[in-house]
């Protein structure tokens, strides 16, 4: 009921190619997240799916139906925006009901669907208020409510949590996850925050410079990144990427090792380094080392005390290193 197929979508603004041939399939009920650095084209891709931008070439199929020339309102989609985009002159109730009203649905049905959505999001007490009288979190819930009321085949989220503060962001994230379970709807979600991507997604699409780098489940991306870009983008702190030549290794250009896959010792180990800085996060301790081959980040679980400028030996966990070739592609062991 809510599958999406994207075939070779290209989009140019003048001479700038923003999307350079995107192919993607989203199954019904999937939660798909587009991540990537700013300017990678993820928002543009979402807008093309929504019909707010025309693709320069390529096809969009929703439920197997080509919707290239279908206006946004008729595509069976609903969208939640980063800036909430609530209608300032309408009450919460009318904000949620406007789409149905435009579609000519009977008042009774609009009322019923608004009621269901508002109770789902605990907005019942605010139905008569204007957006200006709500807090940021409430506004975003109204925006989500407005999407639910439309009962779309496809939910589109454009960085919905970016304008919320940290605590609200976690709550709203949980709420979105709950909604996805409850509604079993297909959701496409754009974010630059990899924590949101890892926690919410069934499938993550990593975009870079208008191309898809890799598609996979969060753990697939974490455990077997196909490119150096994905390796560096997924995981925090970032994966250590070391010039293979400096390590004296051949057959690869770059060696990657995640900070959490390195052990340290004061006495012996593979790589010698001096401590530049230590960050204590409670559950984790992050150590920044300067070694012969450049900086190295190490993440240890629990609390550890190391002196700055002290010498430490680091050893990578065996089988946890990644090798990349000249083009940044992973070399399969």
């Amino acid at each position: 009921m809510g599958s999406l197929k994207i075939e070779n979508i290209r989009k140019s603004f003048g001479h700038v190619d923003v999307l350079k041939g995107i192919d993607l399939e989203v199954k019904d009920g999937e939660f798909v997240i587009f991540v990537g650095p700013s300017g990678c084209g993820k928002s543009t891709l979402l807008r093309v799916i929504a019909g707010l931008e025309d693709a320069t070439s390529g096809d969009i199929l929703i439920d197997g139906k080509k919707v290239n020339n279908t206006p946004p309102a008729k595509r069976g989609i609903a969208m939640v925006f980063q800036t909430y985009a609530l209608y300032p002159h309408l009450s919460v109730r009318d904000n949620m009901g406007l789409g149905l009203k435009q579609a000519g649905k009977p008042a009774q049905e609009i009322k019923e669907r608004t009621r269901i959505a508002s109770s789902m999001l605990s907005l019942d007490d605010y139905l008569e208020r204007r957006p200006a009288e709500l807090s940021g979190g409430q506004r975003q819930r109204v925006a989500i409510g407005r999407a639910i009321v439309r009962e779309p085949q496809l939910f589109l989220f454009d960085e919905p949590l970016s304008n919320l503060d940290a605590a609200l962001r976690v709550n709203t994230r949980l709420e979105i996850a709950r909604l996805h379970r409850q509604l079993k709807a297909t959701m496409i979600y754009v974010t630059h925050d990899q924590v949101e991507a890892m926690t919410l997604a069934d499938k993550i699409v990593v975009l870079n410079q208008g191309r898809i780098e890799q598609v996979g489940s969060p753990m697939e991306l974490y455990n077997s990144p196909q490119t150096i870009f994905v390796a560096g983008f997924i995981g925090s702190p970032q994966m250590n990427l070391i010039d293979a030549a400096k390590l004296g290794q051949t057959g690869a250009r770059t060696i990657g090792i995640r900070p959490e896959h390195i052990q340290v010792s004061k006495t012996s180990g593979e790589w010698k380094g001096s401590v530049i800085h230590v960050e204590h996060l409670g559950a984790d301790t992050i150590i920044y080392l300067q070694t012969d081959f450049g900086p190295l980040t190490v993440r240890l679980f629990g609390e550890h005390n190391y002196d700055v400028d002290g010498t430490l030996y680091a050893t990578p966990d065996s089988g946890r290193t990644y090798r990349f070739d000249d083009d940044g592609q992973v070399i399969k062991a």
């Binding site: 019909g51 946004p72 309102a73 909430y84 985009a85 209608y87 789409g99 407005r146 439309r150």
Partner: protein, 279 residues
């Protein structure tokens, strides 16, 4: 965050300068209003004096109102001004929406072209406009004035409103599109309410020159049935004799509608002028 308090001396100077400017600006208005309530002899004897019981006279107003046609002149001015403002705001806002919202070839050129009218006074084209109006048979109609004033007001309106419409969030317009609003609904129901302060600013800036204009009524619509207030009050100014009572009374009356409109719009107007700077 406490606002840094300016030194009282500096504030004093600012207020002095503003006060002085206000006095200079209001002086002619003040003079017009007080003299309109005096009899003819005391206007000349003591032009700066306030009306006293002995010099107070409403003869100017009586002359103006007895002239009979003045109600018609007022009505003409009202029609011309109101209809012109309506068209300026409607077309100006529509053009501004197109310029700010849609990407198309020549967008910037079109914007500059539309703004050109701010720099080139429309009066330079008076002869051609008159020829056009004669050819179209519109001389001595209010339509002629409305057309000219709409053209005169549009450049500034397009310019100001384009800037304001750029500030309206794209997400909001896109949300409207997804909810199935037509482009016209988005324009009228989402964007226009949000640029209301700018509309008020444009309305006032457009209204005042139209209401005060003497040039085009004199050239395009001088017939008795189409005279505006400004033109109408010229009947009291003769080559040899000028009925100052009547002229001043007519001008005083002509100030009233502008003043009322200004008071109505002033809240919005101040928001419109400052919002770009402060936000």
């Amino acid at each position: 965050m406490a606002k840094p308090t300016a030194s009282p001396i500096r504030t004093g100077f600012v207020h002095l300068a503003l006060g002085a400017y206000t006095l200079v600006a209001l002086f002619p208005v003040f003079l017009t209003v007080i003299n309109s309530f005096k009899d003819r002899a005391s206007i000349f004897r003591d032009p700066l004096g306030l009306p006293t019981p002995s010099t107070f006279s409403l003869v100017g107003y009586e002359t103006v109102l007895k002239q009979g046609d003045f109600v018609l002149y007022f009505q003409n001015s009202f029609i011309v001004t109101a209809v012109s403002i309506f068209f300026v705001l409607l077309f100006g806002a529509m053009a501004a929406f197109a310029l700010s919202e849609y990407r198309f070839r020549g967008n910037t050129m079109m914007g500059l072209y539309l703004a050109l009218g701010i720099m080139i006074p429309i009066r330079l084209g008076t002869v051609a406009i008159l020829q056009g109006m004669v050819a179209a048979g519109l001389v001595n109609t209010l339509t002629a004035l409305i057309l000219v004033y709409t053209a005169q007001g549009l450049p500034l309106a397009v310019f100001i409103l384009t800037e304001f419409m750029r500030t309206v969030s794209d997400d909001l317009k896109n949300a409207g599109r997804i909810d199935g609003l037509s482009e016209y609904s988005i324009f009228f129901r989402l964007v226009l309410p949000l640029v209301r302060p700018a509309m008020a600013t444009v309305a006032v800036f457009t209204m005042i020159p139209i209401w005060n204009d003497l040039w085009f009524p004199l050239i395009l619509a001088p017939s008795d049935a189409t005279k505006t207030v400004t033109l109408g009050s010229q009947v009291f100014i003769g080559q040899f004799v000028t009925n100052w009572n009547a002229v001043l009374a007519a001008l005083t009356l002509a100030i009233v509608p502008v003043l009322v409109l200004y008071l109505v719009f002033s809240r919005q107007l101040i928001r419109g002028i400052t919002s770009g700077a402060v936000k």
